[in-house]
Symmetry: C2
Subunit: 290 residues, 2 copies
């Protein structure tokens, strides 16, 4: 840890725009729109404005799972929000999510369109609307506890560990230690739980799995922050079993591609408006590979 | 910010128990019980095991609000979990919450008792069980978005800002800056929203208010981290209006006392088993003052 003990916070915090690492340009101490811009609108019941971060793919996985179950009313248009360009500060986006974070969803299947923000809220809305991927009766409470667990825990993984391990302009030992310890504790919570449960809520795949996999599954499969070795992910054997099992689900394979703008070109589907968009990507992929 | 750029993380993180600030003794990279100990059990439908932190008082406020609405079936026993003594690692507590965090609730009003963890899950369970403090119809989605917003945002206030501003063994400028900026953004989100809404979900007091007030209300009323001046809380006038309005609610006045073991003695009610416990405290208070 740094031996520099000289910093004394001022009486009142001041915004210093010169510092903040890779994401400094999009972090602000104020909310609200920075510019006027309406959102595009498609014809499907659900209008998603998002990016393929872990919080974003929760929703595309969910919609793909619902479509795979035969719910045609879950059809959606997925539009891209490029957060590196500040598109989450456009007035149209802020109208749906005053918090300016992806994902944001407009449910226009109702007479009066419903705005939804926060991935957990979107998952719950969709599960209740289609009465799917959410246990009934007494198991519902267990599912909700794990869904909220994910929402309250992942900030320590993303905004804590991920930031200080991968993005911060300087490696600060105290911070990396603090958040590594917490993330390993969370991984151990899941690992012990999955020793006796096929899925997060027992024998039933649910929105708790859909919420947790994009963060903790991706982490142990080494798709997040390149940190699997650092966190000794291989030691969480039950978690890895579950992560691999879900990784084989076709809906998850599709969901992780939507609104993705990085990595191998064949894994990117910047916008999604129809199920055939994935087939086109498969063709693209074949063409790219040949 | 420190000029020490020399730290290079190891290939695999190692547990160093010698560092970590005020809460170092209860932070661990592993989960599960550290000792066998059954939880005490009272006679009421709800058995709460908690502490009067912001997450803890969400639940006691909720239960007091339900009782104030006339739901006698919301009667509860509140037992103390002293996290500084590691009581959250007792086997009985871990059986209810494998994540070892307060609050944890056992609903024994059902034939088969239901375990509940995560304050947001507990609020939702109680709201649905009593069909109270949760809007119906299309407003339900808005309420849920704000409830999940609180769960995903407050880690930046508690585990981020609060830790680095108040608890960490060293003041690290980069971290205080990072989390101050985010917390001020969150305060501004709430302030702008409350400019046009009496409560979080419009004209209806709901679990979204119950979830948000103990964190963001307490912060601007300078009851959290002594940080109101530092964050210029006075500038968030709509948020302060709302925070003061809720502060007058009798259920909130009672809820914040339950499982409280610090501050003025007259504000502490270590355990709560009956509505008359508050009256006894009022007598104690009078006696203390006279």
């Amino acid at each position: 840890m740094s031996a520099d003990n000289s910093y004394i916070p001022p009486k009142v915090w001041q915004w210093n725009t010169s510092n903040g690492g890779n994401w400094a340009s999009i972090n602000r101490p104020i909310s609200g729109p920075t510019h006027d811009n309406a959102l595009p609108k498609g014809k499907h019941p659900f209008q998603l404005h998002s990016l393929a971060t872990p919080n974003g793919v929760k929703v595309t996985i969910m919609l793909e799972e619902l479509l795979a179950l035969g719910f045609d009313e879950a059809e959606y248009d997925a539009f891209l929000i490029d957060i590196s360009k500040g598109e989450q500060f456009a007035s149209g986006f802020v109208d749906i999510n005053p918090n300016s974070k992806i994902p944001a969803l407009l449910d226009q299947s109702n007479e009066q369109p419903i705005r939804l923000f926060e991935s957990g809220s979107i998952l719950l809305h969709l599960a209740e609307k289609f009465n799917a991927l959410i246990p009934k009766g007494e198991k519902r409470a267990e599912c909700m506890s794990w869904l909220f667990w994910q929402m309250g825990s992942a900030p320590y993984l993303g905004g804590g560990f991920g930031h200080f391990y991968a993005y911060a302009p300087e490696k600060i030992e105290y911070c990396i230690d603090r958040f590594s310890m917490e993330v390993k504790r969370q991984l151990d919570v899941l690992d012990k739980h999955l020793a006796n449960n096929e899925y997060i809520c027992g024998d039933e795949y649910s929105i708790a799995d859909v919420a947790i996999w994009p963060w903790y599954g991706a982490l142990v499969l080494n798709r997040l922050y390149d940190a699997a070795e650092f966190l000794d992910a291989g030691s969480y054997k039950n978690l890895i079993r579950w992560a691999n099992q879900l990784d084989q689900r076709p809906a998850i394979k599709r969901g992780v591609m939507v609104n993705k703008t990085w990595g191998d070109l064949s894994t990117q589907l910047h916008e999604r408006h129809d199920a055939s968009d994935f087939l086109k990507r498969t063709q693209d992929k074949l063409e790219l590979e040949n």
